[in-house]
């Protein structure tokens, strides 16, 4: 038998297994879509993987440019994905995220958090000094309506609930804050420069507005408005900035890994902290819409809400929430 005839015979013998490949693909699809949990079938998927590898090796040698080989490659990749498909249970995933991944992410971000907070505070001080010295510069940071309102002796926040209902206000605020927070993180892609810009600008604006408001004798009123939601909101701004800075540093100084690998590691490691930021901003938005602008709520209550929510934020970010005695007892009971 000539070599060519032998190759052809081997190729056709291989192609006779096409039915088995189609069955393997159908089995893998059923498992990957969660439509089967039969252990016997699962064992067959593992067998399929080995047999497909064997057939693929032959197909690559005998039928390198055929559609049959292309199909076999895709079936093999599908079975590979199915076998490497981790179990995904919603509650367990969420619990692991909040109990382990967020605290680990925040711990890793600590050095960046220090720098981001320092930048924010310094920018705030710079904004304050700038407007205190040159009050006309407030026009760079505040709208004409806000300036007019403050100069007339009233905060722009007074009477806000007469114009916009609390729920709408909350929704607008939390949507805006979440977008800014995510942008502070993502703009770390620009070697951290975007993050520095966002954190710096926000600090500058806050300092400038405070200086302008203080100049008009309304600093106490503004502090009373901000205290309920501001502690957490500003902390989250710094945390998002820290996450963005981590991503930026990975791109600027990748170390021994490649730039892309370092970027990926930093983004995935700091990602859980962003989820915590989003959750916290929802709460801060609700407080800013329902509690902060409400004149009937005493300042002492607003301070208590602000401090309490900030402590809750700390407990969430450090994982202390999951170390509470009640939760630990419940966790031990469910493990036994």
């Amino acid at each position: 038998m000539s070599a060519e005839a032998r190759q052809s015979a081997l190729a056709h013998a291989l192609l006779k297994r096409a039915g088995a490949w189609q069955e393997a693909e159908a089995r893998a699809r059923r498992f990957s879509r969660g439509r089967s949990d039969d252990p016997v079938e699962a064992a067959r998927v593992a067998d399929d993987y080995r047999l497909l590898a064997h057939d693929l090796a032959r197909a690559r040698a005998l039928l390198p440019r055929s559609r049959a080989r292309a199909y076999l490659e895709s079936v093999y990749a599908r079975v590979h994905a199915t076998l490497n498909h981790g179990d995904w249970r919603l509650w367990a995933t969420v619990e692991r995220l909040f109990r382990e991944e967020i605290p680990a992410s925040v711990r890793w971000l600590r050095p960046y958090l220090v720098w981001a907070t320092l930048l924010f505070v310094l920018a705030g001080c710079a904004g304050y000094a700038l407007v205190a010295r040159f009050p006309e510069l407030i026009a760079l940071f505040a709208s004409p309506d806000l300036i007019a309102s403050v100069e007339s002796g009233k905060l722009w926040t007074e009477g806000l609930l007469n114009i916009v209902p609390s729920s709408v206000l909350s929704a607008q605020i939390l949507a805006n804050n979440i977008v800014v927070s995510l942008l502070a993180y993502c703009s770390g892609f620009l070697f951290g420069l975007g993050t520095l810009y966002i954190v710096g600008l926000n600090g500058l604006m806050l300092g400038a507005v405070f200086a302008f408001v203080a100049r008009n004798g309304l600093a106490g009123a503004l502090a009373a408005f901000i205290v309920a939601h501001g502690c957490v909101e500003l902390s989250v701004m710094c945390l998002s900035g820290a996450a963005g800075a981590a991503v930026g540093e990975a791109l600027a100084r990748p170390g021994s890994h490649g730039r892309v690998a370092a970027f990926r590691a930093a983004a995935l490691r700091s990602g859980p902290a962003l989820i915590a930021c989003t959750v916290l901003l929802v709460g801060a938005g609700l407080i800013e819409g329902f509690i902060s602008p409400q004149p009937r709520i005493p300042v002492a209550v607003k301070v208590a809400v602000g401090v309490g929510y900030w402590l809750l934020m700390l407990a969430l970010l450090t994982g202390a929430l999951w170390r509470l005695p009640g939760y630990t007892r419940r966790a031990r009971r469910s493990d036994s």
Partner: protein, 249 residues
């Protein structure tokens, strides 16, 4: 998907590496456009139906006009869900369908992790958060530029999440016909005949005739025999060639 499609090779436990065919800007754009239409339609449908129902329950009117003033219930039950459907479509659907969306299914692509496995929830979320950057300055300009310039055709979100967009699966229909398994036709010719028959309705008459005549000559038919045949006759002979090859197994 051709041999020219770039691939990423991933090690596997069997020793035979997994080839992941990487999807480029074209497939991405196609999938995005389809998904964008779905988002728009879903969001507008919710908004329209919700507004009509709200106006009807409130005033007895059937109207698409938004209610005057600030209606918290309308904003909460009609506007907010419509906006959520539009903006959260990609992260939610990709999470639910494990890296796929209706647009991606239509384009035949899927998001996977770099080892070929299903991308995790965290990676899918990070991938979608970075759309804020990829969509700069306009219409995913930066994202498409990165897809065009990077070897693995990835955008910023894929780099951050460690994911890839790959072509999902080739069709078995063209590969597995009786003629390919019989031995009387070589595999390449058998696959070409099967592909021509599958694409027959979409080809022009001239293209059908030219391709059919070339293939029939490869199958051993003489030029004199096939030259005078019309479109229907050429198709019939191609089918006979396939059946005859299968019958000779």
């Amino acid at each position: 998907m051709s041999e020219a499609t770039p691939q990423l090779r991933v090690d596997s436990a069997t020793g035979i590496d997994v080839a992941l065919p990487l999807a480029g800007a074209g497939a991405r754009s196609y999938a995005f456009v389809v998904d964008w239409h779905i988002r728009i339609v879903l969001a507008l449908a919710w908004y329209g139906a919700g507004t009509v129902l709200y106006n009807y329950l409130r005033n007895g009117e059937i109207s698409l006009a938004p209610p005057l003033g600030t209606h918290v219930r309308w904003l909460g039950t009609v506007v907010a869900p419509a906006l959520a459907l539009y903006f959260l479509y990609h992260p939610l659907i990709e999470l639910l369908l494990r890296g796929s969306t209706p647009g991606k299914r239509l384009a035949g692509v899927r998001v996977v992790a770099r080892d070929g496995s299903v991308a995790g929830a965290g990676a899918l979320l990070v991938r979608n958060v970075f759309r804020l950057i990829d969509s700069l300055p306009l219409g995913y300009g930066l994202g498409l530029l990165l897809v065009a310039l990077t070897r693995e055709h990835v955008r910023c979100g894929d780099m951050a999440a460690g994911t890839l967009l790959i072509y999902e699966s080739a069709s078995p229909a063209l590969a597995m016909t009786p003629a390919t398994t019989s031995g009387s036709l070589d595999v390449a010719t058998a696959e070409l005949v099967a592909e021509l028959l599958a694409r027959w309705p979409g080809l022009t008459l001239a293209a059908r005739a030219a391709l059919a005549q070339q293939l029939l000559k490869r199958c051993g038919r003489s030029a004199d025999e096939i030259a005078p045949l019309d479109d229907a006759a050429l198709r019939r002979i191609l089918i006979e060639v396939t059946r005859a090859a299968g019958a000779n197994a």
